[in-house]
Each structure stands twice: as C-alpha cells, then as structure tokens.
C-alpha cells in the first residue's frame, strides 16, 4: 500500500472539512443528550427542517442558505423552548422521561418528516450558492468551497457555544445543571428554565447545521435518519457534554472516514469509525475529553 503525499494531505484536509460539518450536526446532541440527559432522537429532523427553510428562502430571495439559517436561528430557539416545555410537563416532571420521552421524540421525528413530505413533496432539494462550484487549490491540495464555508461557520459556531457555556453566567448554569440540578435549585436557580434554554440552544444549532447539509448534498424529508447513529457516536466519542470533545470526536471520525475511503475503500469507513469509537471507549470510557 502506497501513501503518496498529495493523497495523504488531501485525505487529511477532506477529513477535517467533513469533521467540521459533523461537529455542527453533533453539537446540539452534545448539549441535549450529553449535558441535559434528554435523548432527543428527533435532532436530525430539526436539521432537515433547517435545510428546507434555507432552501425556501434561498429560492425566494436568493439569500445564502447559511445566512438564512443564522437569521432564523431564533425561531429554532423558540421552537426548542416550546418543545422542551411539552417534554418537561408531559414526561420529565412525572419521571417518565426515559422510555416515553424517547417515544415522544421518535414521534416528533416522524411528524416532522411527514409534514415536510406533505408540504414540499418527496423530491430531492439542493441549493446552489456563489461558492458551490469553486475549488481553491493550494499546491496539490484541494479546498472545495462547498465544504470549506460550512466548515468555517461550523467551527466558529462550536467555539462560540463553548465560550458561551464557559464564560457567561447562563452557560455556567447549564454546566451546573448537567452536574447537579438539585444543587442549582438550592442556589435559587430554576433548573427547568436553564434546561429549557439549553435545549433551545441545541435546536438552534440543528437549524444552522441543516443549512450546511443542503449546501453539501441533496436533501429529502427522510434523510435525517441517516445521521442519528453518527451524531450520538460523536457525542459519546468526544465525551458526554464536552463541546471540545464533540469537535475533536467529529474531526477524528471525519479524518478516519476520509483516510479509509482514500486508501482502503469507502465500505470500510463505518467499520473503522465505529471501531475507533469502541477502542476509544475501551481505553477511556468517558470519551476523549469527558470527565
């Protein structure tokens, strides 16, 4: 097996770019599942919803889908607050969040899919942007803008979320609620409100990730299901509730996938990625950067 330098460099860059996209998909799960212990299996449905909103606005007004997603992220935030309220009142407050809560999010996943089918039909949708067909070349290395732009925005978003969580009062309250909600309550903070806002933040990131998805590949209402395993795997690999861990885990899986596809055949990519996950958890059960 030969490893020409150009192929190795391209595999690493492609893996990093892919990892950046994976990080955007997974950061919301890292918050909801990793920090709040809410198994939001419907997370990919909100990603697809974000894709469709970006698609509509792009079609109507020609606005870049990623700009659209940033503008409409407050709507996703509000949707997240509403959704968590329902989840809390119906399940969490009654201590029935484990199985019934899971069924609730499954329901949300299917309802969202069916609603999208009824409104938009089942055809594949994709957007073209000013940079979709541009590729920068630096020596032997390619930088397709279709992946570079989502990568840059994604990394900025993930770093922003991390800074927000560690440098603001509310962010620290989220970290606290992840560790000990009772202690937070004793300090006069309502953990339910904190969890609601944190959950809303996770849904807002899903909306933005949806715009990345439709820039990268065609989307149809059911395509989100393909990402359920991946986002949870990245969250666990990185370490439950660790945003830096999520970013690192996404890069690891992205590079592993890209490297395997280039040198050993793409059909091995999932086996290598999930093998890495198992190995990492074997050596460090709390994940790469988990505590």
């Amino acid at each position: 097996m030969e490893f020409p330098t150009a192929l190795v460099l391209n595999a690493i860059i492609a893996g990093l770019l892919l990892g950046g996209f994976y990080a955007a998909l997974s950061v919301g799960i890292s918050i909801s599942f990793g920090m709040l212990d809410v198994v939001n299996i419907a997370h990919p449905a909100f990603i697809i919803l974000g894709s469709y909103i970006a698609y509509i606005v792009n079609g109507w007004m020609g606005v870049d889908p990623i700009v659209v997603s940033l503008v409409v992220s407050p709507l996703f935030f509000a949707l997240g607050i509403l959704l968590y309220r329902i989840y809390y009142v119906c399940f969490e407050r009654r201590g029935q969040e484990s199985l019934r809560g899971l069924a609730f999010f499954f329901g949300i996943l299917f309802i969202t899919e069916v609603a999208l089918v009824l409104i938009f039909g089942v055809d594949y949708r994709m957007v073209r942007t000013a940079y979709s067909e541009t590729t920068w070349r630096l020596g032997p290395v390619d930088f397709p803008m279709r992946l570079v732009v989502p990568f840059l925005v994604s990394v900025t978003m993930v770093v922003g979320v991390q800074l927000f969580l560690t440098h603001t009062f509310f962010g620290r309250a989220v970290l606290a609620v992840a560790q000990d909600p009772l202690a937070l309550r004793l300090m006069g903070v309502n953990p339910t409100r904190v969890k609601g806002l944190a959950f809303a933040l996770s849904i807002a990131t899903a909306g933005v990730a949806g715009a990345f998805l439709i820039v990268i590949q065609p989307v149809q209402p059911a395509i989100g299901r393909e990402y359920i395993g991946l986002v949870f795997a990245i969250c666990v690999l990185g370490g439950m509730g660790s945003i830096w861990g999520t970013l690192l885990g996404a890069f690891v899986l992205g590079i592993a996938e890209s490297f395997t596809s280039t040198f050993f055949g793409p059909s091995w990519a999932p086996a290598v990625s999930f093998g890495l996950l198992l190995a990492a958890l074997g050596f460090k059960p709390s994940g790469l950067l988990g505590r």
């Binding site: 020409p4 192929l7 391209n10 595999a11 492609a14 893996g15 770019l17 892919l18 996209f21 899919e113 069916v114 089918v117 938009f120 039909g121 089942v122 055809d123 594949y124 949708r125 994709m126 073209r128 067909e133 590729t135 390619d142 397709p144 279709r146 992946l147 990268i216 590949q217 065609p218 149809q220 209402p221 059911a222 395509i223 393909e226 990402y227 991946l230 996938e257 890209s258 490297f259 596809s261 280039t262 040198f263 055949g265 793409p266 059909s267 990519a269 999932p270």
Partner: protein, 416 residues
C-alpha cells in the same frame, strides 16, 4: 300465520339479493401494490403512482376493465424492504385485490416475490434489476427495457461505446453504493469487463450515507483509469458528480449507472456539471419521434407532478409505469378474465402496444430486446429546467437505432 311469515321472509331475502347482486357485479377491480411514497426513493415512487393513477382514470373514463371500474389499492412501503411482505399479505388477505403489481425498484420488488410466488399471482415489476434471476418465477414480468440479461443489458451501451473509442481503453475503475441496485449493476459491469478484457484498477463500494465523495474520486483519479463506471443512487450521484468536478477527474469516459441525472431535480441542480457524463436514460426529447404517443401522457403527467412536488419532467419512470399498466390491461382484455395462469401465458406469448413502444417479454419476464438508452450530456448551460424539455443537450449514443450522435471523449474535454 307461520306460512305468511315464511313467505314474507323468503320474499325479503329474494328482494335483498336482487338489490345486492348488481352491486356485487359492480365491485371495482382492485389492483394492489406497495409504493415508496416516503423515504429515499419516494420521488420516483410518487412519480410512478401519478402515472398509474392517470392510467386508472383514463381507463375508468372508457368504462373500466371487464365492465368494472379499476381501483388502485396501495400502501407506502417507506422505501423499506422490511415493510413489503406485510403490505402484500394485507393486499391479498384483507383488501382482497384481484391483481398485484410491484412498487418501484429492485429493493422493494425482491421481498414481494416470495409472497407473490406462494399465491401464484402474475406479477408486473417496475424497474427491478435482474430480480427474477434469483427466483426464476414464470409469472414475473418486468417493464424496464434492460433486456433478457438485465445486469449485462443495463451496462451494454456504456461498454460498447467505450470499446469503440480509439485507441481502445485498457483500464477501468468500478465504484458503487452498498445497496441492491448498485450491487447488481456492478455485477453486470464486471461481466462486461470480463467480456471486453479491460483491466480493473479500482473496484470498491461505499456506504449509502456517505457525505463527502472527494476521497473516493481522488483515489480513483490516482489510478489513472481510462474508464470510470459508477452505480449510485440520487444523493450519491450528486456527490460523485460534484466531487469529480472538484477533484478535476480525468478519464476517457465517466458515468454508466448513475441514478438521478434522469430526474429534473438533479438535472437542474447539477446543470453544467453533467457535461461529458455518459449515462443511461429511458427517454429524452432528442428521440421524441421514436415515442409518438408519449407526448399526450407527459402533458397530463407534468401538470399534476408540479402540483404534487415530484419530478416535473417525468421522462424516466412515469411512462414505463403507465406502460406497465397498459400491458396488464391488454392481457386482461384479451384473456377476458383474471385467471393468473392465463394472464401470464398471454403475456409470455404476445406483443403489447404501449406508450413506450412495442413490448415483448422474454422467458424470464424481462424485455425480449434491450432498449436502455446510453446518452452523453453536453452543452448544458445554467440550471434552468426549460433546456431539458427540448432537444439539444443529450446525445443518444446507444442503441444504434436510436443514436443521434457519437461520444465525445475524454470526459474532461466536455467541460471546456
């Protein structure tokens, strides 16, 4: 009193039967199937359903079949093969359908086959690739024009054209998704490789949920293959085509078995990126003269498809979905009933006149003669749909009787 009651009751029964009998005679003729109305192949499934509904409406407007209105009974198989057996059992046992046809695609036709065979039903398949090779069922028929050896017929055009290049190509890269159709298409391509003596320098598959195809295309580019044969589903076709453009793939021919460029969605979204690709199609406006009856169907279909958010061109699958029902209709009319053995026997023996031309079936239920078009996209500018509705952007290369030009190689020269 007792006698009076008996007479009254008997009269009532006779009167009721007299009322009910015509109603029973008027019960609709039910045709059942599962169809992908959600899931990854729903775009094709819904387009096929519209075509079948148009057929039923056309037929019912003319009085139906055997004096009965035709009713389509269908369920969404979610593009999920595991739902198919229960759908077909329900159609037969609960809905009591008179006839069965398949949903769209290899992966949902294959799981219906054991049930259909158990009940000895005649079964029309809609674009399943080589399904009957595993079952060898004598009442199976297929409307896709891939010929009696579908896996080979499917790829015949690509390889015949490639081997006609001068100088002859020496090497080939084969790549496809880990899924039913691509696996069968690659199987056919490997048979063609053996026939033509090409050297395989890359032969790999990828998982269906692959996001970035540039590592795959880069690995293929590193082999300097003369030919690149791809068997993929719509999202990965888009990924492959984009990656080939981003990486700057150089090959004498690229394409072969991409599912997706046949539909308006990918045609418009990929636009000029399709230039140079050699692929299969079942109909293009450039050969409209060979399909004289199709225009009236497409006019009906396109109006409805736009409203329902599915493929607004309808060139690929809908005409064949309609033709599938025409075959069934003609067989029922000719045999004068629903006897499954007689229907199958008739379908094996006679030729059918359909919107997609004359159809005759081989012993294994596939088309007796292959007629899959191999085409090359060219001169595509911009992303509007209009350009695809008229001739000028697709050269039909194969079969010879449909050819409108010759291939322009190498692939990358079409980008200039």
């Amino acid at each position: 009193m007792n006698r009076l009651t008996t007479w009254f009751t008997t009269g009532l029964i006779v009167f009721s039967l007299a009322l009910v009998a015509p109603a029973l005679a008027q019960q609709p003729l039910k045709i059942g199937f599962g169809m992908s109305l959600t899931g990854p192949l729903a775009g094709n499934g819904k387009a096929a359903l519209i075509a079948m509904q148009i057929w039923a409406e056309d037929l019912n407007a003319k009085g139906g079949l055997l004096g009965r209105k035709v009713e389509l009974v269908y369920y969404d198989d979610q593009t999920n093969p595991s739902t198919v057996p229960s759908i077909y059992n329900k159609l037969l046992d609960v809905d009591k359908v008179d006839l069965l046809v398949s949903g769209y695609g290899t992966n949902v036709i294959a799981p219906a086959m054991p049930i259909v065979m158990q009940r000895n039903m005649a079964f029309m398949g809609l674009f399943g690739l080589n399904v009957n090779s595993k079952f060898d069922y004598d009442r199976y028929f297929q409307i896709m024009p891939a010929g009696p050896e579908p896996a080979i017929g499917w790829t015949q055009g690509f390889f015949d054209i490639a081997m006609g290049l001068s100088p002859k190509p020496q090497t080939i890269a084969l790549v496809g998704a880990d899924a039913e159709y691509p696996a069968l298409a690659l199987e056919g391509a490997r048979a063609q490789v053996k026939r033509t003596g090409l050297k395989v320098v890359y032969d790999k598959t990828y998982p269906p949920n692959t996001v970035d195809f540039s590592p795959i295309v880069r690995a293929i580019a590193a082999t300097n293959a003369d030919l690149v044969f791809v068997a993929s589903y719509p999202p990965d076709s888009a990924g492959m085509v984009r990656a080939a453009n981003e990486v700057g793939l150089k090959a004498r021919m690229f394409g072969g078995g991409l599912v997706g460029p046949q539909f308006a969605a990918l045609k418009t979204q990929l636009g000029p990126l399709l230039n140079g690709i050699v692929n299969y199609e079942t109909y293009v406006p450039d050969v409209a003269g060979k399909f004289p009856f199709l225009e009236q169907f497409l006019a009906k279909y396109q109006g409805r498809a736009i409203r329902e958010g599915v493929d607004p061109l309808g060139f690929y699958l809908p005409p064949y979905a309609y033709a599938m029902m025409q075959v069934l209709e003609q067989a029922i009319k000719a045999t004068g009933g629903l006897d499954q053995a007689k229907l199958a026997d008739y379908m094996h023996t006679y030729e059918f006149d359909t919107f997609v031309g004359k159809v005759r079936f081989a012993k294994n239920g596939e088309w007796a003669q292959p007629r899959m078009l191999t085409v090359q996209y060219h001169s595509v500018i911009g992303n509007d749909l209009e350009q695809w509705m008229r001739p000028g952007h697709v050269t039909v290369l194969y079969p010879a009787s449909y050819a409108t030009g010759t291939v322009k190689a190498p692939y990358q020269d079409n980008k200039k």
